[in-house]
Symmetry: C2
């Protein structure tokens, strides 16, 4: 008997939930994407609302993604992955490498938040259109300073790694997350990423290797993979990208 | 023989390093605050630069705080505390409670980043004075929407907790971190926090209990506790607080 896993995440965006979906998909582990099931079957947004009210038990979560499985309820993306990965064969083998993977996942979480804040620099309470002027200003610094600093850091980690992945001698969940980060930044800032490409060859090679993994390739080609869109974390607003 | 612990963090601010300092101090565990030692003795900013170049071994850190001890080097505040707490007697007792504490610590990390971004909404590459207009706009939403939402969440967790602390039946590192969060927000936004006080009695009672713990009280009264200042994460700019 295997564990039954449920993911609670917004049904119309990749968002932070996508880091969890990618882990389940690559592991070939069945999971229910609860909010993408019909409301009549206990799905939809009401399912997330129940989870946020703490009705799944355990610590009340602050926000999705939330995973239930093995009698446990976990929220916070990096905590979910740290807990989940050993159970589905996606964790590094040694304790030291697991600690390293978690640190890298937390750094990926930091970049993800920064990428979100570029289009919402003033407040998540406002629409993008109401903070577009500030967003345009923020984007220039994000493109010139932060993307190169962050992806340059992951490039350095890959160069120093003994294998082709970020940590240890086999692919782990944090490699899937770096793939997702690069895909998201490339969707949001295609011209900026094209300019940066020559300086991050190992990051891009890892992205390509993850993309080619059979289960990931099948997932990306399936209707389960939601398209990037302008409700998610990585948004393409042409005026925020590097100007040609 | 006990482990020898070194903390690498900016020597002139509380910042994210303070969450680590508070854990060491409350546990009564000796640690070297390396960058606060003289440069001639291997301290100062050059010590942080060496750590960031990866010269301590292990995964290259992205940013301080960094802790070395027990043959391991760890960065990312929440990862450090998760690793450190069981070694110094500040972790909850059960695996389930440890998982809950880590999720809460990650949520505290999220608020801390939001509090920082209020005074740096456009970029960390710019000074506050160069993004003051945007910061003033951001602060209003942070005060009206985000501080109540976050501290209301921790209030709810405390109300639901069987004991007087966030998790389990004894104080853990995450209670110390919530203390620091409340202290920081109160320094930065005294009028906003005074307005909010009636709705977060459990959070404030926990803050008071942590403050009264003998080793914490001794630490706060010592020169080891740096004062809040306008180079750190929690900054008091009167124009950003609730206007009287």
């Amino acid at each position: 008997m295997t564990d039954h896993y449920e993911l609670y995440y917004w049904p119309s965006i990749q968002g932070r939930g996508e880091f969890i979906r990618l882990a389940f998909e690559d592991a070939g582990v069945a999971y229910v994407d609860v909010a993408r099931q019909p409301v009549a079957d206990g799905g939809g947004i009401p399912a997330i609302q129940r989870a946020l009210r703490g009705e799944l038990g355990g610590l009340p979560p602050f926000a999705p993604p939330i995973v239930r499985g093995g009698g446990v309820v976990v929220s916070q993306t990096a905590a979910i992955l740290q807990w989940l990965a050993p159970r589905i064969g996606l964790a590094p083998h040694t304790e030291e490498d697991r600690l390293a993977a978690h640190q890298l996942q937390l750094s990926i979480a930091d970049v993800v938040s920064e990428a979100h804040d570029v289009h919402h620099p003033i407040s998540t309470s406002l629409y993008y259109k109401d903070q577009r002027t500030e967003a345009t200003r923020a984007a220039g610094y994000f493109i010139d300073d932060r993307i190169p600093k962050w992806l340059g850091y992951f490039e350095r980690v890959l160069v120093a790694s003994p294998g082709e992945q970020l940590v240890g001698d086999t692919l782990s969940y944090v490699d899937l997350s770096l793939f997702q980060l690069v895909e998201g930044l490339t969707y949001a800032f295609p011209r900026a990423m094209a300019r940066l490409a020559p300086s991050i060859p190992c990051v891009l090679a890892l992205r390509d290797r993850v993309h080619a993994r059979p289960r990931i390739a099948a997932y990306l080609a399936s209707p389960r993979r939601l398209a990037f869109n302008e409700d998610g974390i990585f948004r393409h607003y042409d005026e925020l990208d590097l100007q040609a």
